[in-house]
Amino acid sequence: MRRNIQLRSAAVMIVSILWSGIGLAQESHVGKLAGNAKRGKALYTRYCVFCHGPNGDGRGESAPYLDPKPRDFTKAVFKCRSTPSGSLPLDSDLYDTISRGIHASGMPSWKPLLKQERADLVAYLKTFSSAFQEEKPAAPVEIPPESPATPESIQRGAQLFQSMNCWSCHGKDGRGYGPSAASLTDNRGYPIAPFDFTSGSRFKCGESDRDMFRDLVTGLDGTPMPSFASAMNTDQRWDVVHYIRSLSAHKAHTKLKIEAIGQ
């Protein structure tokens, strides 16, 4: 019996050493910041655990009451990336999401946290999936300079919105009521609504035109929003961005810079 206990405690020790050695050895690098998973764990316990859960699987105590559901870090699938569809995100992508928050979800902006703390959190949430040890994120996608947002560009964007079948989910008028909208689920099987472009609300992965362009290239992994990486060329993507912007132009608080850009 005693031997048994000794064996068990030895096993526990080995496991915990391995855990601290491997599991928490994960680091993150955001600019000059080096995040530390051990410090990140303490912060995660303070700020994140109630939604994302102690195991990072998105099953925290508050998760049943949230819609959309908190991200499951064990899948290592992330919406907001600068990397191609199917790739892991860069550390800076996770950092940016933590800082920005996800609009129209329970995820607030954590900008009030120190930069170092946010980098530490990135390091810790990478420990929830072995994918970050086994794979490397692909190179980030390129975002070339924006083309002029002319009426012609908007018109071309409108045509692409048709031919690329954006309307099947987002609706012919961009209000998010396309014929396929009701069938959509995220990668955990929860219903997910397509974005209403007329709402003038902020986009999940950033508000700028460049963010929208990047979303078109990378897609939002874990959601039905696909990547248009090869489906459209650069000019076409800017056209779609301009068209989508025009759908919320009637909203006073949407800063549509059609005149300002390139004219």
Binding site: K75, S163, M164
Partner: protein, 242 residues
């Protein structure tokens, strides 16, 4: 003498070459040559009636089907053969590292349906996704053991992807056309097959041994049988019920 030694030399060389070939082929002799395991998967009982798919939301899809397309979750051929069943070796193989075949697998989107409906490929084997439709699809595998990706594909756009890890099977969907569903079974070895429309399958080049063979059907689940493959393999049959 000189001539004789020359012949002897040639004979010796021939013997060495022969023995080398012998060696390469396997010391154990012809009894251990790989054989092929054939069989049929049957569906017992009255086959479920496939339901019609309403493709009217995308006229480009609808016009590809003069008669309405039907669902493919259970496809029973003449004589009760069950199509689209993945039959594969689930246990009994030595842990080799199998190289993926050079030949890419092809998944075609045609008439707003996946052809084939169920595809089996090897891990890291190239997968060519083809869109033969006029409309734009997005191909969206939702794996649990592989990286999830989701790509838009207008007509004619080339798209090549791979899956890194074994997974039986990765559901594939098109979010634009919610009826489009397919499966891609990914194996780390080459011993797998998908039944044809009559339920026939063939596992080729299976080395002799005792194996667990699993048959997987997307809706009807899995069945498992043990077989011993010798110089010749007896046909192996599976029967699924609703």
């Amino acid at each position: 003498m000189k001539l004789k030694s020359k012949y002897t030399f040639i004979l010796l060389c021939a013997l060495i070459v022969l023995s080398l070939i012998w060696t390469l082929h396997g010391w154990a002799g012809p009894a251990d040559a790989p054989s092929s395991l054939k069989g049929t998967v049957k569906f017992e009982g009255a086959p479920p009636k496939p339901s019609h798919i309403d493709m009217s939301q995308d006229p480009l899809c609808a016009k590809a089907h003069p008669t309405p397309a039907t669902t493919e979750d259970v496809v029973v051929g003449t004589g009760g053969g069950l199509a689209n069943v993945v039959v594969y070796v689930s246990d009994g193989l030595a842990s080799h590292n199998f190289q993926p075949p050079q030949q890419p697998a092809v998944l075609e989107q045609k008439g707003c349906q996946y052809k084939p409906h169920v595809l089996a490929i090897q891990a890291n084997q190239k997968l060519d996704v083809v869109n033969s439709d006029e409309t734009t699809h997005n191909i969206h595998p939702t794996p649990s053991n592989n990286r999830e990706w989701n790509m838009t594909q207008p007509h004619g756009m080339p798209l090549e992807q791979t899956f890194a890890r074994e997974e039986i099977a990765v559901p594939v969907k098109c979010n634009v056309h919610p009826w489009m569903k397919g499966y891609i079974a990914v194996f780390k070895h080459p011993y797998f097959a998908v039944t044809d429309k009559n339920g026939n399958f063939e596992l080729k080049d299976l080395p002799p041994g005792t194996y667990t063979i699993t048959a997987w059907q997307e809706k009807l689940g899995t069945q498992v049988q043990k077989v011993t493959v010798g110089a010749e393999a007896k046909p192996l049959d599976f029967t699924f019920k609703q």
